[in-house]
Symmetry: C2
Subunit: 197 residues, 2 copies
DNA sequence: ATAATATACTAACGAATGTTAGCGATGTTT
DNA sequence: AAACATCGCTAACATTCGTTAGTATATTAT
């Protein structure tokens, strides 16, 4: 009877959720079975239920831990005393680094939230909608102050956010530029596409 | 015994595939069941098999019909006698319009291709990889001719393609700007992010 | 050492899945 | 009208799914 190995002060639940993130990213939430997850963790499927309530609970944990980090960040950025373009750049760099260093979680949260069930589903969608509105509001400010060219702010937001989710492809590619280079390239293209010249 | 209704010269198979595209987009390939699809088509699940070989075959049809359209387009654009920025703009506009007018198919092809099985899977991945290389090559040309700023071309490609997939959110949003406005906004931001000033 | 708790196991469940077989009804061609 | 192909139906199949119950073992606290 081999116990789930815990390292770095992680609870067994956290180990399971972390392995699940990898699995959900690779196969998708629906296609990844609890038996798959059990094997990845090194245990029988039924044993997982000593640590988690359900498969969906794992998805909750992943989606909301990611969402909360972004909300916390935009709280911080909004409060800063700087111009709109700076704020946007900070948000973008945060998104990029989240995608670089918490790839599995962020990716799963982005692509698999549809499989949440109410009330978590509506909750998540609400948070997402509000986040995007706040992001758009910063862009609007930049437009009004003529730092940013006159574009539709919600459209700009969806371009930015989806563009960053492209880092998925970078992770899988064989000939990678470094993470730093990637970050600078993305900022150059995305911010460059917004600003007035 | 109600037959599958065919309109506009569509075969029954094409009706099934079209309905499947909607369903796969809404629920994901794995979560959408053949019984769901049957209901959407107005028939029993077993009856579908008079027209299609398997659930996976439907996914093949969707993925490759989309992929073929993009390959065909880049063939056309590469052959044109114009500069790199123009070529990129044409490709982007094509992507945007595909996403606007063949939303279901393009979205499914983009997100669900992982569930293809070999040899179709490797085939699809190859086509995708080659397409992106050709796109990157056009960007490289623009960089060498100093129309485009000095960036990593593969990174630029993944930003462009993923940004466009954000049109998904536009489709679902309630207060939409028009399709034409969306197209112009996207082109402005994306091309604006590339060009040298 | 003993008791208590945490964790893993085996076995099994009901439900849902993709798919096949066989039959009858419908539509088309001769 | 007869022959034939097309199409949809019911019934059923083998798997796989998430999850639960009950039990055994390992760890921790007393």
């Amino acid at each position: 009877m081999a116990r789930i190995k815990t390292e770095n002060n992680l609870t067994r639940k956290e180990v399971i959720v972390a392995k699940a993130a990898t699995l959900f990213r690779e196969k998708g939430f629906k296609a990844a079975s609890m038996r798959d997850l059990a094997e990845a963790v090194g245990v029988e499927a039924a044993s997982l239920y000593n640590h988690i309530k359900s498969k969906t609970e794992i998805l909750h944990e992943l989606c909301f831990s990611v969402a909360n980090r972004f909300v916390h960040k935009i709280d911080e950025v909004e409060a800063e005393n700087t111009n709109a373009v700076n704020k946007i750049e900070k948000l973008l760099r945060f998104h990029i680094n989240e995608m670089l260093h918490h790839y599995e979680e962020v990716y799963v949260s982005d692509r698999e939230w549809k499989h949440l069930s109410d009330p978590y589903l509506s909750n998540f969608q609400n948070q997402r909608r509000i986040y995007r509105k706040r992001f758009a509001a910063i862009i609007e400010t930049g437009i009004n102050e003529h730092q940013i060219k006159s574009i539709d702010a919600p459209t700009a937001v969806l371009i930015m956010l989806h563009a960053i989710s492209g880092i998925e492809s970078w992770h899988r590619s064989t000939q990678k530029i470094t993470a730093e280079e990637l970050e600078e390239n993305m900022i150059s293209i995305l911010v460059g596409g917004l600003v007035n010249r």
